[in-house]
């Protein structure tokens, strides 16, 4: 017996001898046998499962399931456009306080943004520079007191006397 004999219509299955009896249940009432178009890979739904205890792999599914009609896909009517996608409004990132208040070309001291004021307040906290030593000024004052033309002339005269 060849391997393909069990696949022919009405042929006995080598592994399942009761396959012929199960196949008779799915034939037309008139007795005409409809050949199977495909081999089932999965179990049929519980409602269409045969009552007898046979291997579901060899059972023929109902003919109604072979002609399953899929729903017609929806199509947009002619002339209609796709729905508009409404997105959230663009968020404007607020600029820095200084950049909004401080016009270009103006320093912080005059623009009123407050940065210049902070700098001025911080500058005020710096202690005043150390006053210059007064001793050096005294030397200067003493030197200026000697700025007497008459006294200079006396010096020149003294230098010329030895000659």
């Amino acid at each position: 017996m060849r391997d393909g004999d069990h696949r022919r219509a009405g042929g006995r299955c080598r592994r399942h001898r009761r396959c012929e009896a199960a196949a008779q249940q799915w034939t037309e009432p008139a007795g005409v046998f409809q050949p199977r178009l495909w081999r089932r890979r999965a179990e049929p739904p519980p409602a269409s499962r045969p009552a007898s205890k046979t291997n579901p792999t060899c059972c023929t599914p109902p003919l109604a399931s072979l002609h399953t009609v899929r729903p017609t896909p929806r199509r947009r009517p002619r002339g209609s456009r796709a729905p508009l996608m409404f997105t959230s409004p663009v968020k404007v990132v607020p600029r820095a306080a200084c950049s909004m208040k401080c016009p270009s070309g103006t320093g912080h001291a005059l623009c009123g943004c407050g940065i210049g004021g902070q700098a001025r307040r911080s500058a005020r906290s710096v202690p005043k520079a150390v006053q210059k030593d007064e001793m050096f000024d005294k030397v200067v004052e003493a030197a200026l007191d000697c700025r007497n033309v008459q006294e200079w002339e006396e010096d020149v005269w003294r230098v010329r006397m030895p000659a």
Binding site: K132, D133, M135, F136, K138, V139, V140, E141, A142, A143, L144, D145, C146, R147, W152, D155, V156, R158, V159
Partner: protein, 82 residues
Amino acid sequence: MRTSVKVHKLTTEDAMNYILTIKNKFLRHPEKFHAFIHTMIDFSRGRINTHTVIERVKILFDGYPDLLLAFNKFLPRGINAI
């Protein structure tokens, strides 16, 4: 025995005496004394700063270390001619 150290505070009289000392040192070179006077005048009028004064005095008092040492006493704190 402890040695007491007294810090003498310079006065206008000390400054005047220092000027007279310079004058006596340069009796034979009055132009140097006049240059020193002019340096002080330029400083008082803001034409030169302290560092420039020191540079000029170093040149004028070259060979007279005692005058430079005495000049140091009248300089502001942290500044020395020598």
